[in-house]
């Protein structure tokens, strides 16, 4: 058994101590989802990678992992897209600009954008999966010359819960973006495409060896998207996925987020597919 030095090394962080940050803007996106803009003290940058997350605290209520929804190219503040789904998020939804919340992080792997340089980027987002992937999309748009095509496939349950309306419309118009949208069930007012997200994949015209796919969505979605990408013959090593688990501490200690032996809060939430292929609990 290796013996360890038992003095906390210099530079040891206070793992569980949040920084108080200010909510500077709140936008209602759907009845369930709001986009919060958060500013750290002094307007310092969070210093995150696309695909990372933070732990958001409300004292006396609790803490929850929330994906960062803005690109690191956005300076002075960052965005959190939050669905009202539990006690904490319900309370956050009641908050107004000017109020303060606790932030720890950024945590997790995120996307290593150096690996994406010069590549075509295929974003496959199901429902709220667009929230973390927006950080990647905006990063690509803000460094447009560094990347090839940007293809976005976005699927939602219905047209009434579509996220980021303004930006979505901008992507639709933007010649630098190939944007595909589908909803499982459209309302009577819906004139767009209907069908699950996987139906978008067969029709894509991709430069397969040069395309990196980034997938995020509800747990059920991954298996079907993988099948669709495989039958499209996209190489496995070109696939990245962002997975959701219960990341309670964010620092690889509490154990809740483990997928087999992998701590999602450390090795994920963004995984290179070949790395998790063998993890039976992953997908």
């Amino acid at each position: 058994m290796t013996k360890h030095e038992l003095i906390a090394p210099a530079g040891t962080k206070d793992l569980y101590l949040p920084v108080m940050a200010e909510i500077t803007d709140v936008r209602q996106m759907t009845p369930l989802e709001k986009l919060f803009e958060i500013r750290l003290p002094g307007g310092v940058d969070l210093g995150h990678r696309p695909g990372q997350f933070v732990e958001v605290s409300l004292f006396g209520v609790g803490e929850a992992p929330i994906s960062i929804s803005s690109s690191p190219t956005k300076k002075g503040a960052f965005d959190l897209g939050i669905r009202k789904v539990g006690m904490l998020t319900e309370m956050i939804h009641r908050m107004q600009p000017g109020e303060r919340i606790g932030i720890r992080g950024p945590f997790g792997s995120g996307f290593d954008m150096t690996k994406f340089k010069g590549k075509d980027v295929l974003v496959i987002a199901g429902g709220i999966g667009l929230v973390p992937l927006r950080s990647l999309i905006n990063y690509v748009l803000d460094n447009r010359a560094d990347f090839g095509r940007l293809v976005i496939c976005y699927g939602s349950k219905s047209d009434t819960d579509l996220l980021f309306e303004d930006e979505r419309r901008a992507w639709e118009q933007d010649p630098r973006v190939e944007f595909h949208l589908t909803v499982d069930h459209g309302s009577p007012a819906w004139s767009g495409r209907t069908g699950v997200i996987t139906t978008l994949i067969p029709g894509l015209d991709l430069d397969l060896p040069n395309t990196l796919a980034c997938v995020c969505g509800p747990p059920i979605m991954y298996r079907f998207v993988l099948l669709a990408l495989k039958s499209k013959r996209l190489p496995e090593e070109n696939i990245y996925m962002s997975l959701e688990r219960r990341m309670k501490c964010g620092v690889g200690k509490c154990g809740h987020c483990q997928i087999n032996g992998s701590y999602v809060c450390q090795d994920g939430p963004v995984y290179h597919y070949p790395d998790i292929k063998a993890l039976r609990e992953a997908l």
Binding site: G60, V61, M87, E90, M91, R94
Partner: protein
């Protein structure tokens, strides 16, 4: 504090032990009243309120009149809290449910039974929507205060889903089975701080069963510790007759 939440306290079929327990909150009662205004409480005051922010309801539903009253309470209350085992699971009262209701009625009321309509003892949640459960027989101050402060903060409290065993282990307790007794801790919901096992008793299951309980395994263990299958079943039924029969 302006506009304190308006609270009503109601009782149905039960011993009123959970309510009395509230009156015993000598140390905290004034603090509690700092946060809320009690506007309806038969045990302590007269009159009825039109509208409530929070209704605390004790006891199980066991007569047609109970059903009518609980609908009224639900209609006028924003948040409904079930207090104690009777309200949450039907409690001990639900023991009558495992026998023919007419037989029970006759045994209790004899020839006057026609004057006393009766129903199987039901948890509040089987008739109206319950927002929060405060479990236990009686409910504990510990959990009531936790739920109460949550409601004052405007958050919906999270119900513990772990077993009572977890709380024994946090306290380094000797396992009740080690003492040669039996215990329902393994499949009973935590939240009481393992009160009974900590004081030399065994867990009777008053807080209800954990989610997805493995009842068969529990029964086998009770039998392995010397109980007949019939007795094992009875131990489990004491507070959980309804849940074992699929009523919730």
């Amino acid at each position: 504090m302006a506009n304190k939440p308006r609270v009503g306290i109601f009782d149905f079929t039960g011993c009123e032990g959970c309510e009395l327990n509230q009156l015993n909150f000598e140390d905290q009662l004034l603090d509690i009243l700092e946060h809320v205004e009690i506007v309806e409480w038969r045990e302590a005051m007269d009159g009825q309120a039109e509208e409530l922010d929070i209704a605390f309801v004790e006891g199980s539903l066991s007569t047609p009149d109970c059903i009518k009253r609980i609908h009224e309470i639900r209609r006028k209350s924003k948040v409904l809290v079930a207090l104690g085992a009777c309200a949450v699971q039907g409690g001990m009262n639900a023991l009558k449910n495992i026998r023919p209701i007419e037989q029970v009625r006759e045994e209790v009321y004899g020839q006057d039974k026609y004057l006393f309509p009766t129903l199987p003892a039901l948890p509040i949640s089987s008739v109206v929507k319950v927002d929060v459960n405060v479990r236990g027989c009686p409910m504990t101050q510990l959990e009531f205060l936790k739920v109460f402060t949550s409601l004052v903060m405007g958050k919906s409290p999270i119900e513990p889903g772990n077993s009572v065993c977890t709380e024994c282990k946090l306290k380094d307790n000797e396992c009740v089975f080690e003492k040669g007794m039996i215990c329902l801790g393994p499949i009973t919901r935590a939240g009481c701080d393992a009160q009974c096992p900590s004081f030399g008793q065994y867990c009777t299951g008053c807080r209800g069963l954990v989610p997805e309980p493995n009842v068969e395994a529990m029964e086998e263990i009770l039998v392995a510790h010397g109980l007949s299958m019939d007795d094992a079943r009875k131990k489990l039924q004491l507070f959980n007759a309804n849940q074992l029969e699929g009523v919730s």
